[in-house]
Amino acid sequence: MAAAEEASRPFAGLSDVSISDDIPVEGDISVPVGASRRDDELSTLDEPVKETILRDLRAVGNKFVHVLYPKRSSALLRDWDLWGPLLLCVTLALLLQGGAADSDDQGGPQFAEVFVIIWFGSIIITLNSKLLGGTISFFQSLCVLGYCIMPLTVAMAVCRIVLLSVSGTVSFAVRLAVVTASFGWSTFASTAFLADSQPPNRKALVVYPVFLFYFVIGWMVLTFSPSQ
């Protein structure tokens, strides 16, 4: 009996809630968006492939804009995707690859190396933020970190153009300025998105690996020199 009472205790609070008799406690649970959603799915089946791809690209582009103007919106967090990060990562790795096209010179970053640094770095940062008590989901964090590489990818493109046109100290100074600015931008943007999900007293601990991650990538971009 005592055990039974013990078991029923969790619901003791509920027993106080009285439901008046004239309200029927039964019925169908209807989801209002169900009907329209079905229509949507039907329409995606029928629509041309071009539209589907364009819509996805628009979503990715929309998130790029969010990174460029890192205002505290949850769009990047709410519907995450990994297409953008993949695109950015591959672009960056391909741009950095040119330096090591010569098989004898292994000092330059290789495609696989860049790829591994970006993905494993993001995973480690995500795990770290989860360990520190962050409330963000795994893929949301990966998405944010991946999208925030964009300033560095842009910096890489600029660096290649600069390397084509001018050389010497001027080139290095320009590249240093560009890479520093984009590194700061990346760190700032990712912090703006990730900071809300962290306990307020531990933001510094979460930001440090992010800083290190973008610093390594930025440093790789800065030290890149195409093979002659």
Binding site: G107, E113, L131, R202, A204, L205, P209, F215, V216, T223
Partner: protein, 337 residues
């Protein structure tokens, strides 16, 4: 069975009455039911016993057996049932605990929960621990407090990886059959985990009061000195500066660890063994990290100054050439003769 009853009759041990009470208190049928449950236990003779019990149960369940028989059976079943129950309970608990552990290990989020206590730090704590890793404490009569925490060490190891990568890149290190990244990560994590385990093993041998977690934390924070020294000396190439920093910062962080270990070890020889090994490994590692990726910079700088010289690279020694030389010399010797 007869042995059991005999022992019962002649039993004068204090636990005899306990057995009797147990048997008296419980009926034979209930014990048999308990026996049924023990069929899965690890006792070797249990299957055979169980078989016999089943047969006897059919006879005794009709309550046709005499009082004496019932008492005999009851006692036997009581003894075995008790053991079986105990074995079953232990096995069940072990199984349950193992199952819980396994399901935890396989579940990523639960896994994170296991590790979470080790990452429970505040930025202020990390800062003060980083500072303290450079300040040796001279109190060795009382065990020093070592924080069991993994955030700081892990971040320091990753920082060391980044610094090492920088050193490798600027020195133009060529690594065959591997990437710079993999080598840097392997070196740093290998040192951290390997030396921690080794020192922990030594500490276990000499009975020092330290846990693996504390060892990881201690050595991890000890890497802060390495990070500082390497960051400075990879960018400013003065041998004198490196040796000063090596002795000063590396020495301080080593002293800190040695003091902590000293305070937790008893006896002269164990202390010497443990602290000697740790300081030797720690200081040599810094030397290795510096010169392995630094000397090449100077070689590269020299070669850049002379336009026609080929850049010096780290390659395997040309062993065939050496042997060729040796054979040539031998031939020369032969020709001379």
């Amino acid at each position: 069975m007869s042995a059991g009853s005999g022992s019962r009759n002649t039993n004068t041990e204090p636990w005899g009455s306990f057995d009797d009470n147990l048997i008296q208190g419980s009926s034979a049928v209930i014990d048999m039911e308990n026996m049924d449950d023990t069929s899965g236990s690890s006792f070797e003779d249990m299957g055979e016993m169980h078989q016999r019990m089943k047969e006897e149960e059919e006879v005794t369940a009709e309550a046709a057996a005499t009082e004496d028989d019932a008492a005999d059976d009851g006692e036997f079943l009581g003894m075995k049932g008790l053991k079986g129950q105990l074995g079953r309970q232990v096995a069940d608990e072990v199984w349950q605990a193992g199952k819980r552990q396994a399901s935890r290990a396989f579940n990523l989020y639960a896994n994170i929960d296991i590790l979470r206590p080790y990452f429970d730090v505040e930025p202020v704590q990390v800062r003060s621990r980083l500072m303290e890793s450079m300040i040796p404490v001279r109190m060795i009569t009382f065990p020093q407090k070592i924080a069991g925490e993994l955030y700081g060490p892990l971040m320091l190891v990753f920082t060391l990886v980044a610094i090492l990568l920088h050193g490798m890149k600027t020195s133009g290190t060529v690594i065959r059959e591997g990437t710079l990244m993999g080598t840097a990560i392997g070196t740093c994590f290998g040192y951290w985990l390997g030396v921690s385990s080794f020192i922990y093993f030594l500490a276990y041998l000499v009975n020092a009061q330290i846990t693996m977690l504390q060892m990881l934390s201690l050595l991890g924070y000890g890497l802060f000195g390495h990070c500082v020294v390497l960051l400075v000396t990879y960018n400013i190439h003065f041998h004198f500066l490196f040796y000063v920093l090596w002795l000063l910062i590396g020495g301080l962080s080593t002293l800190r660890m040695v003091a902590a270990l000293l305070s937790r070890t008893v006896g002269q020889t164990p202390r010497l063994l443990l602290c000697g090994t740790l300081s030797l490994l720690h200081m040599t590692f810094l030397l290795y990290l510096h010169f392995n990726y630094h000397k090449i910079v100077e070689g590269l700088l020299d070669s850049l100054e002379g336009p026609n010289m080929v850049p010096m690279q780290r390659v395997a020694r040309d062993v065939p050439e050496l042997t060729l030389n040796a054979t040539l010399r031998n031939q020369e010797v032969l020709q001379v003769h």
